[in-house]
Symmetry: C2
Subunit: 187 residues, 2 copies
DNA sequence: TCGTTTATAAATTATTTTCTGTACGTTCTT
DNA sequence: AAGAACGTACAGAAAATAATTTATAAACGA
């Protein structure tokens, strides 16, 4: 809060309160990104801080241990929501937010969804193959088994179709094609 | 597993294994929907089960308490991933999956995202108003304060722009307009 | 090279979430 | 009306997750 130094106490308090409200809300809703509330608040704090922050300054303003800050910073780095920046003269690592929320959004969901889709498609492909083997081995005379297999096959095919759609959606996010359908605002 | 009754043990085992692989994968990846792995497995089981299931049958096949099944069923109902169906002759409640995964997807993310966006926009609007009050009160002579307020204002405006974009994306999901950009496969 | 400062790893503690067993209210059957 | 079957609320046990403290490693300056 160094930058509020020297303001009238009333003004400083009111600005802090205004910021705090937003930081709090961001913190609460960051669970969309699978992030803990305290890491979310940390991000909110960094968002409003002008210029990069250090682990120590984070620790001080969050009232939490430096180790926790170290962990939190790592998760935000992994999500590409913040960057480590180099700053002359300081031995401490410095961090600041990546302000492109559109990219944050796309990156996060692309990665998560893709991971899930790929895992499920892989399992389903494997099982589909086995089910078809069973169909071939069984022969047409075993009607009950054949219809059972047929129904499983159909379910998997249906799911695969959906996953292929989701992959296309992910691609639209990754390539930015999504902005053709849902454009950003004009400047 | 009643429906596998009467099959050769070898065939039954192989089919079970094929299903189990998929159920397992679904269960593991259901955390995208904020769902516990065991509830995810429950869903997977229901997905492959032909016809509706009861709490008792779920309990038996999952090897978990009936209370857990009751809770799990409720969360899946809330997410509209399963429906309670009526079935003549049985006093037990019966459930089956809603097979429209596109709708599941849209519903879930629309609701989640909308909730977060609305909360954050509301907090930001309030704070933006207060910041503008401060700007007006301060007068132009206090340059340092004005530039501080200006920078906060800009950050909030930037965020709001992003949220309006996200709202439009949510709308595209809700109305199905998303399928214009990313169409489902032809039949 | 040695002492300092910074960042992270490992172990511990605290908190939250998930699961189970019991108990209770409701609905159906007789 | 009594008894049985069913679903769920509740409280506590078990498991998983988050945060802290302590200890170690890496980077830097003298």
């Amino acid at each position: 809060m160094n930058e509020l130094e020297g303001l009238s106490p009333d003004v400083a308090a009111r600005l802090t309160k205004a910021r705090e409200r937003v930081i709090d809300s961001i913190g609460k809703n960051m669970d969309l990104y699978g992030i803990t509330q305290s890491v979310g608040r940390m991000y909110g704090y960094m968002y409003f801080h002008n210029g990069p922050v250090t682990l120590d300054s984070l620790s001080a303003s969050m009232g939490m241990s430096k180790t926790s800050m170290s962990n939190g910073v790592r998760t935000l780095l992994d999500l590409k929501m913040i960057d480590k920046v180099w700053s002359k003269g300081s031995r401490k690592d410095q961090y600041e937010v990546v302000p492109d929320w559109y990219a944050n959004f796309s990156d996060f969901f692309s990665i998560r969804w893709r991971k899930a889709v790929e895992a499920n498609m892989s399992a389903m492909s494997r099982s589909l193959r086995e089910i078809r083997e069973l169909m071939a081995e069984a022969g047409a005379e075993d009607e009950r088994l054949q219809s059972l297999l047929k129904s499983d096959e159909a379910k998997i095919n249906e799911a695969m179709k959906y996953y292929r759609w989701l992959l296309r959606l992910i691609e639209a996010l990754e390539t930015g094609k999504i902005f053709e359908l849902v454009p950003k605002e004009e400047e």
